[in-house]
Symmetry: C2
Subunit: 443 residues, 2 copies
């Protein structure tokens, strides 16, 4: 069985490789070639780690080898290289070409690649760029870290249906679904698993879903995808806003604290990323503010904004924009993480529990760069307050009459969270194949 | 903060509770009431464990309390009960009613509930039945166990898109997707993430997706869902069938071995489930057989089947049915797990690598009860052999020309695997809200 480059480095660290170990079989793609007169140095990557495997080919300059080709190392031996940046290289005895590339194949590993260009132009092999492969490895690790943490604090993972007939957010931005011999009406793709999670929280107390969600919205920005992954939690322990907010904060801090060392190592030279991971795990950088106070601050600084912020007369009907949100996190709270609490009821969906005034028990969590990352609320528990819902949601009201416990919950946009943590300007680069409104699906 | 019933039992095991400990706050639903003259015994469940919490209410018979209601224990004290089945009960000082139920609310915990009846009749609270809640807790634990095992053996989790324009299996059973202002053509819901995983395996070597997949097929059986979850793996280490097959076998054996103790405890009285977990983790129960030999065995036993098995003249055009598959696993291999290998090319999709005869390098893994649980193959690596693909799949051929490494992979139907492991007759009960052809979506 071939082994991976990551496994080879792990064997080295466990002292299982020494000078003249016969190398295991490894395959990968050539990411760099340096030719000297009687020797060639070749870097092999296989996407399991950022570190390339260094091969040394003696005697002939290996004219046929080119960057981008895939090769299989069939035999060779380890040479320890304590004076070089990498701990060892492999002196090659036999190297087999697996896959060729066109003459004009442009793969060159560079510190900075133009993500916007390669994202759409080279979808077949863009993840051979280390920068993009790193994002996918980070994402995988973060999802695992979240799953383990949620298991530890007593949450059951549940798989909510994507085919549904409700539009949780009520924005009418759903994708319709049909099939030739399927007669059911009004099927759409879910915009949020929340309503189903509310059902399951009644039975299981603490539940979460990590699930694709879909919004057919027109925005093609660095913050929007038509298909995105959402982490949604619902709990009978979160029937009050303060407990819900501290649950969110604890979870995010602990998940970042738990990023494993091998993933940390991949980003150790990225100062901005290191700074963000440090800042987010420091409780002092987390803040809470009332929505009505946010409106006052925005009005006091309205000269700073392209979009005029809501006034004391319009704030019940006009929400704040992402420009305002970023300013709140970046400037007002000095690159902090800000829970904006208790929005006007008129701005929020039907399912939020009212306060005694005209606000609801909810928050949006605002991050620097990204603006809203999470929205959450305590849920309306009185069936009488839900009597005007459409008939499709009769069940949602009925749920409150068959042995109900108050719940609260929230939804985290996974791509936005990753984009922030890795300082990626566009969420399109945090998912392997992005989907946005009206872009042709090529792959 | 309220604590869960599971947390309370965990505290007891860690000796944090003693006689007369003031109880923590717990909320849940009443699953049983026993009234005596001057005392009532009440079982509370909250879905975090099968074990109910036993409450004792003295002095009055508590006529207002009913099964199904939700309550919050506000104060009481622990009474150790070493002579009873449960280790302690709680003598209640204050119990608050949270949610009422209609007079005819039928929740009664019984050893055997009619799953087919409650599945569709009581979707709002069916998971308050312990049997169904157990399935969800098991599913959550299994998904976590799979994720940790796959991370450990070097697989990166990737999120493949569900909106696509390909139909991997070519059966024309896709759901079409549309949106009011979305002009892209030919969007459907994915039937398999495989083709996208193939792209990512080229860059990352070992990748997997745990993802909803969709098939608009008419079958309403105990084995089919229109929306189901599939675990799909793709690896550059699996360019040969023997390695792929042993990779599958090792993964399933190890994942069942790793079922955590608290989940094992929930099923310790289910003899059939215990037997299955034992059988699946024993390598001697795993078998491999050539497809052509399967045909001979079926012909030799054709009197046993309702559907006539393929003959030596028809086996290139007619596949075997699930009736035949079950017989192979249950009878021919004595309730074993059977890799049927090297099917005729004419029966399988375009992406499988041919052998030198008219077969392809593939397998179906057959389980007792469930029939096919996994399909896998080595992928076609020659672009010339893919020249007749539809234009939408030009990229799939091109992938073979830009630095290709041979890969293999497989897809596991998660609901079928769970149904087998828990001896559940119908996959509809392994997912919280099932979707099947032409059943109205109520919830």
């Amino acid at each position: 069985m071939p082994c991976t480059v990551k496994q080879l480095y792990a064997q080295f660290q466990r002292a299982l490789l020494s000078n003249n170990t016969v190398s295991p079989i490894v395959n990968g793609y050539i990411s760099n070639i340096t030719r000297l007169k009687n020797v060639s140095f070749i870097n092999i990557n296989d996407g399991t780690t950022s570190q390339p495997l260094k091969l040394v080919l003696k005697n002939k300059p290996q004219d046929a080898l080119r960057v981008g080709q895939t090769v299989q190392l069939e035999s060779g031996h380890i040479v320890l290289t304590p004076t070089r940046p990498q701990p060892f290289e492999i002196s090659v005895d036999s190297l087999r070409l697996l896959g060729n590339v066109p003459d004009n194949f442009p793969l060159q590993q560079k510190q900075l690649v133009n993500l916007a260009k390669i994202r759409s132009k080279y979808p077949l092999w863009k993840f051979k760029y280390n920068k993009l492969a790193q994002i996918l490895r980070f994402r995988s690790s973060l999802e695992l870290s979240l799953a383990n943490k949620l298991d530890q604090i007593g949450f059951t993972k549940v798989d909510a249906p994507l085919l549904t007939n409700n539009d949780t957010e009520g924005h009418n931005e759903t994708f319709k679904v049909s099939a030739a011999e399927w007669n059911s009406k009004n099927i759409n793709l879910t915009v949020s698993t929340q309503l189903h999670l509310e059902v399951l929280a009644q039975s299981l107390s603490n539940v979460y879903a990590l699930s694709p969600c879909f919004r057919a919205e027109g925005s093609d920005t660095g913050r929007h995808l038509a298909e995105f992954w959402m982490l949604e939690l619902e709990s009978t322990n979160w029937g009050h806003l303060p407990q819900l907010i501290s649950g969110v904060q604890d979870l995010l801090i602990q998940v970042v604290q738990n990023i494993p060392q091998n993933i940390r190592d991949e980003f150790k030279e990225d100062i901005e990323v290191q700074e963000r991971w440090g800042r987010i795990t420091n409780e002092n950088n987390w803040h809470q503010v009332e929505y009505r106070d946010v409106i006052k601050e925005l009005q006091n600084n309205k000269h700073l904004f392209q979009i005029a912020p809501p006034t004391e007369h319009t704030f019940q009907t006009t929400g704040i924009s992402s420009e305002h949100e970023k300013w709140i996190a970046e400037k007002l709270f000095n690159n902090g993480y800000v829970f904006i609490k208790n929005y006007p009821k008129s701005l929020k969906p039907f399912y939020m529990k009212p306060n005694s005034d005209d606000t609801v028990q909810c928050f949006d969590l605002i991050f620097p760069q990204i603006a809203e990352v999470i929205g959450g609320s305590v849920r309306e528990d009185l069936p009488a307050s839900l009597k005007d819902l459409p008939r499709d949601l009769d069940w949602y009201r009925e749920l409150r009459t068959v042995g109900y416990r108050p719940t609260g919950g929230f939804g985290l946009g996974l791509e936005r969270f990753i984009a922030y943590l890795l300082n990626i300007p566009n969420v399109k680069d945090t998912v392997p194949f992005y989907r946005v409104m009206n872009s042709e699906i090529v792959l």
